[in-house]
């Protein structure tokens, strides 16, 4: 039994529920065989992947949905063997090279070149080229991106790339120059409510009224995936009972922990608090919550509770320490330094 987010993912560009303009653009691009390389960007859960799969279907027809997973072996220059899972159909393949850490350049060099150098074998294929989807393109190393450059130009006859990313800031200029940038904005809360309504109807969720859905949407950070998951969770917990406006939306544990840090920080500014907070930070980090997310969430929670005149310096400190955290090696230093700074601000 698959999750609702997968089960109710629209299968074709003609059936997506919002951003019709992007669907139209994709249909138009798919109508002729000279599709450029694409760089699709937008916030998480906005529907990027859904639309790209729709584009593939327009390009190749339904058989592109017959996918299998293979594992591809790579040998590093130091003769170490590595494996990477590759999702593929007869017409496309999909990789997440950032899974390989620093060896992502090898994926680009070996896998892409192999794919690019072999022509489409299926003579009935609608397009001569294969599509390669690269997930999380913003975490590709500089080396890997550099390796993409000429490959993208030399093999355009046999290969088209679709890069998926949350932000274009970490994509090097030569790659941006080689792709058509397509922005997918997050759905509005109303869009989300509409999708939730459809899914709820299909799954026969017993809803008191649409207020519940509006509440889910407003807690979703405009992330459709998150909203759908929440709806499914509420439905599962409610059992056979009605899901009503008053059904509480569960807050993830890690957000509660951050809430606690914010409260302690404001209420008692002592070294002892700092020590207590440190163990909470370690707890969050050990649960793989990205340090940037911790710092950002903490800032958002502090903004309303600190005196108004401290807000500008608070944000400035947050941006400074988050920057250092990205450059440095020890996350905890910068998280703690931020807390200490906030305490000092509050004391003054």
């Amino acid at each position: 039994m698959s999750l609702w987010v997968d089960k109710h993912r629209p299968k074709s560009l003609d059936h997506v529920d919002y951003h019709q303009d992007i669907s139209e653009r994709f249909s138009a691009l798919a109508a002729t065989g000279d599709l450029p390389h694409l760089l699709v960007y937008g916030p998480s859960g906005a529907g990027k992947k859904t639309r790209v799969m729709g584009l593939l279907k327009k390009l190749y027809g339904p058989s592109v949905e017959k996918i299998s997973t293979k594992s591809h072996k790579f040998v590093t220059p130091s003769k170490r063997e590595l494996e990477l899972g590759v999702i593929c159909s007869a017409y496309h393949l999909e990789v997440t090279p950032s899974d390989m850490g620093n060896n992502d350049r090898l994926v680009i060099q070996q896998l892409l070149k192999e794919t690019a150098e072999t022509q489409q074998v299926d003579l009935n294929a609608k397009q001569r080229f294969k599509v390669v989807i690269i997930n999380e393109a913003d975490s590709l190393s500089r080396d890997a991106q550099a390796a993409l450059r000429r490959t993208m130009e030399k093999y355009t006859k046999n290969i088209r790339l679709i890069l998926l990313t949350n932000s274009t800031s970490n994509i090097i200029a030569p790659i941006r120059s080689r792709t058509l940038l397509v922005r997918v904005a997050a759905p509005t809360e109303q869009d989300i409510v509409n999708v939730l309504e459809k899914v709820a109807a299909k799954e026969h969720v017993d809803l008191e009224n649409t207020k519940t859905l509006e509440k889910i949407a407003s807690h979703s950070d405009r992330n459709l995936r998150k909203a759908l998951l929440t709806l499914e969770t509420l439905y599962t917990f409610a059992g056979s009972k009605t899901v009503s406006e008053n059904t509480p939306i569960p807050t993830p544990d890690w957000e509660m922990v951050i809430g606690r840090i914010a409260r302690e920080l404001v209420s008692s500014r002592t070294p002892a608090t700092l020590l207590a907070i440190r163990s909470l930070f370690y707890e969050l980090l050990s649960h793989c919550i990205p340090p940037s997310t911790i710092l950002k969430e903490l800032t958002y929670r502090l903004i309303p509770v600190v005196p108004a005149n401290l807000r500008v310096p608070l944000i400035s400190a947050a941006a400074t320490y988050e920057h250092r955290l990205k450059l440095g090696a020890k996350y905890i230093f910068h998280l703690e330094a931020f807390c200490a700074k906030v305490m000092v601000l509050l004391e003054e």
Binding site: D14, E24, R25, S27, A28, L29, A31, T32, G33, D34, L35, P36, Y41, G42, P43, A46, G61, P77, I108, Q109, K113, K126, Q127, R128, D143, A146, A147, L148, R149, R150, E153, K154, T156, S167, T168, S169, N170, A173, P174, R176, S177, T179, L180, R183, V184, A185, A186, S292, L295, K296, P304, A308, R311, V312, I315, S316, A319, E322, H323, K326
Partner: protein, 378 residues
């Protein structure tokens, strides 16, 4: 029912395409890659000098540098074609780029092997048509991603075989090429494309594709592409699909099989394709910063909402920063002193973004900072 019809029509359309697919056209950037030096626009200096070498049948080692999409790769490929013709090019030209393994080992072996081979005199029918000078060319595209060690190793090789090989190094950042190497080459800087030459090239593409464009559209494309002709051409292609084929697709859905109805490309199409943030959105933010009554701290929660909205819309922070910069610098109502403070903020933000800092925090800090500067000015 409706959707059934739509489907069958799509299938037909696909069948129709099958017949023509054997010569499936490449994306326009490849289709309109300059075929000869004459096709290269705006890079007069490089083109003039290189053309002269065609006559004299001699060539220095070369270093091409400049921003992406300005014609570096195209120029060297066109030059090679004019020197040797397409047939002999295979024997005489070696092209290596960042997607090939290019450690020291490669420089030592594959370049050496190629460089050491004897130059064989061309067949008569080729020698008649092309200058065919008695040396080979090794193109090292994207040389800025070669390691320093590999570059040092290249130094010797270049000297040893200079009698019969010429090197052409291509890069975006000339500073990443080690000095001893750079000083062995004639340097050619490729400028960002603007002005009439670039416009003429874009018009050439647009005419060849029989597009109809509204006045000012091509100029606008060049402007949003920031002097990158490759980007400009891709944007033009996407715009043309949007204005032409999309209406065709809609006709299909209505069950109406008439000919595709096209409209001219408009400036709005360009803005949408290029991901330009509507000026009103940013102006509204700047206005809110200026108008904030009372202490800035009180407006921070509102600014947070606006920044989150920008993030949800997916606008790239680099784009926000750059458009913000343009708006503020040209705003006559902001004093010079405030402008310079804001410039400092913009520069810090740009650096942070380049280092991979979190975008929403960086944007929040930027906009709160601007509000603070403008608020303090009152």
């Amino acid at each position: 029912m409706q959707s059934f019809f739509a489907k069958s029509q799509q299938a037909q359309k696909a069948d129709g395409k099958k017949t023509s697919k054997n010569k499936a056209p490449p994306p326009w950037v490849e289709k309109y890659r300059p075929k000869s030096l004459d096709d290269v626009s705006s890079q007069d200096h490089a083109v003039t000098v290189l053309k002269r070498t065609l006559g004299s049948a001699n060539l220095p080692h070369m270093l091409f540098y400049g921003p992406p999409g300005t014609g570096k790769t195209s120029t060297v490929l066109a030059l090679a074609k004019e020197l040797y013709g397409p047939e002999l090019m295979k024997d005489r030209v070696l092209e290596l780029n960042a997607s090939d393994e290019r450690g020291i080992a490669i420089v030592r072996d594959s370049i050496k092997n190629f460089a050491a081979q004897k130059v064989v005199a061309p067949k008569d029918h080729i020698a008649e048509k092309y200058p065919c000078p008695p040396f080979k060319i090794i193109i090292l595209d994207e040389a800025d991603s070669m390691t320093t060690d590999a570059q040092s190793a290249l130094r010797r090789t270049m000297e040893t075989y200079s009698a019969q090989t010429r090197f052409c190094l291509i890069c975006n950042y000339v500073t990443r090429i080690i000095d001893p190497l750079a000083s062995r080459c004639s340097k050619f800087r490729f400028r960002l494309l603007d002005g009439n030459d670039a416009l003429a090239r874009l018009r050439h593409v647009s005419d060849a594709e029989q597009l109809s464009v509204e006045d000012g559209v091509l100029e606008k494309i060049l402007e949003v592409a920031n002097g990158d002709l490759r980007r400009a051409i891709t944007i033009l292609q996407s715009c043309s699909r949007l204005s032409g084929e999309s209406s065709a697709a809609q006709n299909d859905e209505d069950g109406d099989a008439t000919m595709a109805e096209t409209r001219p490309i408009t400036i709005a199409d360009v803005n949408e394709t290029a991901g330009v943030i509507p000026t009103e959105t940013l102006k509204a933010i700047i206005k809110a910063c200026k108008d904030s009554k009372g202490p800035i701290g009180d407006t921070v929660p509102d600014i947070l909402v606006a920044v989150k909205e920008l993030t949800y819309s997916g606008w790239s922070s680099a784009q926000i920063t750059s458009q913000m910069h343009d708006l503020i610098i040209t705003d006559v109502l902001i004093e010079g002193k405030e402008k310079s403070k804001i410039a400092e903020l913009l520069s810090v933000t740009d650096k942070r973004l380049a280092d991979g800092a979190d975008e929403s925090l960086a944007m929040l800090n930027l906009i709160v900072g601007i509000a603070d500067v403008l608020g303090a000015a009152k």
